[in-house]
């Protein structure tokens, strides 16, 4: 028996390469990062592992965001969850409601006596992942917002000023029309993430509630507020633009992303994190600007909100205090200005902290990469309101699908803009009530 154990220990030591690693506290970290993001994640984790000799964070790729969340839920049910899991922003309400499954970050930091200042995080980032009374529940990680990417060559070909991109929807429509009429590109305007950009971001920019109860922050009995005339008007604008050929609906989620780099769409509303891909693919001169707004509705648009993912700490039946201390140390490391700036520059996601922004600026990153600071400038616009904090709605992924379905029907001419938004509210509210019923 003893000999058996010895063999196992020897094998383990050989497998891990060194005695030191075998003795360090192991922390499981499940994530959904691919490509450039995965490379940056690996580097940041390696940086943490090298910065001390007590803990080792082991990142494990678990598939898409939805698959990672599924895997974490299944693992929790089986009593084997990871210590840390990366969950996309629309899963926030579901995670937050699972009080027995998660370890809120503010509590983790207090329990482990880890110095932590939530005020260093920029407001829309902190707000999205905090409780209504401002306590940080999950750790901000990769955050982006939406911007308007435009093709300067196509602008020139259509006789538009490439250094004066559209600011408002009227200007965006006129520019898209001019581009298509001049044959400067196949499509004038397209949008990725239609629900996130044309409704969630759109609501924040125009200081409109997406749902009552401060977008759900104040309670699970929120109802959708998407039947406001401005949303209806906006769907009508998209329908009219489609009819005149200046707007093209090119599929759900990130499917339209490919259209900008290929030159097919002269303007694309997409994530600010598209930068790396645009730099790699675009064979033309491009620019990026803020999201347009209706200037007859709001004179000064508000801040946009974030998308992306945050890190959640999970309650694990057999986890030790040392393991949670390691998680807290890792989170503190992520909040360091140097780590944050490096993460921001490597991935194209926005810096999470003011320190990270200043560090990137000090390195001359924004001088060398014009427009790379637009995302954070749009997020950090002054005077945020309760409509611009983010969304805290249960089953939000399902509500997004409802919005897709109803807007697609309107764009196919099967219903009016008003009917589309009425249906969204009716069906979306039913989904919200289902979520509420579980926790009653």
């Amino acid at each position: 028996m003893k000999r058996h154990k010895l063999v196992i220990v020897v094998l383990a030591v050989l497998a891990l390469g060194s005695v030191a690693v075998a003795q360090r506290v192991q922390i499981e970290f499940w994530h959904a990062a691919t490509g450039a993001l995965a490379a940056a994640l690996t580097e940041v984790v390696a940086g943490f592992n090298a910065s001390q000799d007590v803990y080792v964070v082991n990142p494990v790729y678990k598939g898409s965001y939805t698959e990672t969340m599924s895997a974490a839920i299944a693992a929790f049910r089986a009593g084997q969850p990871p210590h840390i899991v990366q969950i996309f922003e629309v899963g926030t309400a579901t995670m937050m409601a699972a009080a027995g499954a998660i370890y809120p970050v503010y509590q983790l930091m207090a329990d482990t006596n880890t110095p932590f200042d939530p005020e260093q995080y920029i407001a829309p980032v902190k707000g999205y992942y905090s409780s209504a009374d401002g306590k940080m529940i999950s750790m901000p990680f990769n955050s982006s917002t939406a911007l308007l990417w435009y093709n300067k060559d196509a602008f020139r070909a259509a006789g538009l000023d490439p250094d004066n991109p559209p600011r408002t929807w009227a200007e965006a429509r006129a520019a898209a029309k001019a581009i298509v009429d001049a044959g400067a590109a196949k499509m004038g305007l397209a949008t990725s993430w239609l629900t996130w950009i044309q409704f969630e971001q759109f609501a924040a920019l125009h200081d409109l509630p997406f749902a009552t109860k401060s977008n759900g922050f104040e309670g699970m009995d929120a109802v959708l507020a998407l039947d406001h005339p401005l949303f209806v008007r906006h769907v009508q604008t998209l329908m009219d633009m489609q009819a005149e050929g200046s707007f093209t609906y090119a599929g759900r989620d990130s499917a339209p992303d490919a259209l900008f780099g290929s030159g097919e769409a002269a303007m694309l509303m997409a994530s600010s994190a598209l930068r790396a891909r645009v730099m790699r693919e675009a064979q033309f001169e491009w620019g990026v600007t803020y999201l347009p707004y209706y200037d007859d509705f709001i004179a000064e648009p508000k801040n946009s909100i974030i998308g992306g993912a945050s890190l959640w700490v999970m309650r694990r039946p057999d986890a030790t205090a040392a393991e949670y201390k390691g998680v807290a140390e890792f989170f503190a490391y992520l909040g360091l200005a140097a780590t944050d700036a490096k993460w921001h520059i490597m991935t194209g996601y926005v810096p999470l902290t003011f320190g990270g922004y200043e560090a990137a600026k000090a390195q001359g990153y924004y001088d060398a990469n014009p427009g790379a600071d637009l995302a954070i400038l749009q997020l950090a616009r002054p005077n945020p309101t309760e409509n611009t904090r983010g969304l805290r709605l249960g089953n939000l992924p399902e509500i997004r699908v409802v919005i897709y379905e109803e807007v697609e029907k309107a764009l196919q001419g099967q219903q009016t803009a008003q009917q589309a938004m009425d249906n969204v509210v009716r069906r979306g509210n039913a989904i919200l009530r289902e979520f509420e019923a579980i926790y009653k």
Partner: protein
Amino acid sequence: MKGKATFSNKFLPYLLVAPQIIVTAVFFVWPAVQAIQQSVLRSDPFGLRTTFVGLDNFRALFADPYYLGSVRLSFLFSAAVALTALSVALLLAVMANKPLRGAKVYKTLLIWPYALAPAMAAVLWLFLFQPSIGILARGLQDIGIHWNYTLNGGQALLLVILASVWKQVSYNFIFFLAGLQAIPKSLIEAARVDGATSTRAFWSVVFPLLTPTTFFLVVMNTVYAFFDTFGAIDALTKGGPGKATETMVYKLYVDGFKNFKINSSAAQSVILMALVIVLTAFQFRFIERRVHYL
């Protein structure tokens, strides 16, 4: 009985069927029991709060016009896929069964698609028909057809049906070809001697003798269309646009794994399981009567 005489050890027969029984129990019976159990509960995704709700999940589904829509769509879709896949395969098998130059090449090429994973097959269709990168999609647009299945529900449905049929034709082809080759030539020759045209000989002699194969394939194709077309739908349309291609199996995946409504998803899988059991029983009861075994 004979069995007792064959096996000297009375545990041996059980041992020999054990692998099959274990596989069935672990991968079918156990999950099915769990699905039934989950379908009468309501819980949060993490299983922290669970209440027994009886048949509420089923009631909610049958009151949901979108669920009923997906049931209707599944029947339409499955009928279209099974009928088309069977007819095309039969036609090809009859033609490939004739003495042809290079028949082996044709046969190999026709069987080939079966070796592809459904998702891979769907990606091939994506390269052909995706509105902005698809080769054939561009061709269609050039001749003035407004092809965009991301917005046109009819086109999306047509595309997933075609992709699903294409995948299944190979399977049917193999069985039809084997079935055709098993039919004694003398019977067909006798029919011809009696003055039957080749069409008449086919419908009066060959087709009735193929009915065991056809019956087997009808059952397999129904099951395929209800369950295995998931990959094609997921890769091509993800159930959209609207709910134009959201069949029952796709909807239960979306509800279970994307919306984390595990209980509703379990109820849907119970309904789907019951439906396919009923459908198969129906086919055995009514269609098998008309099957002629040689």
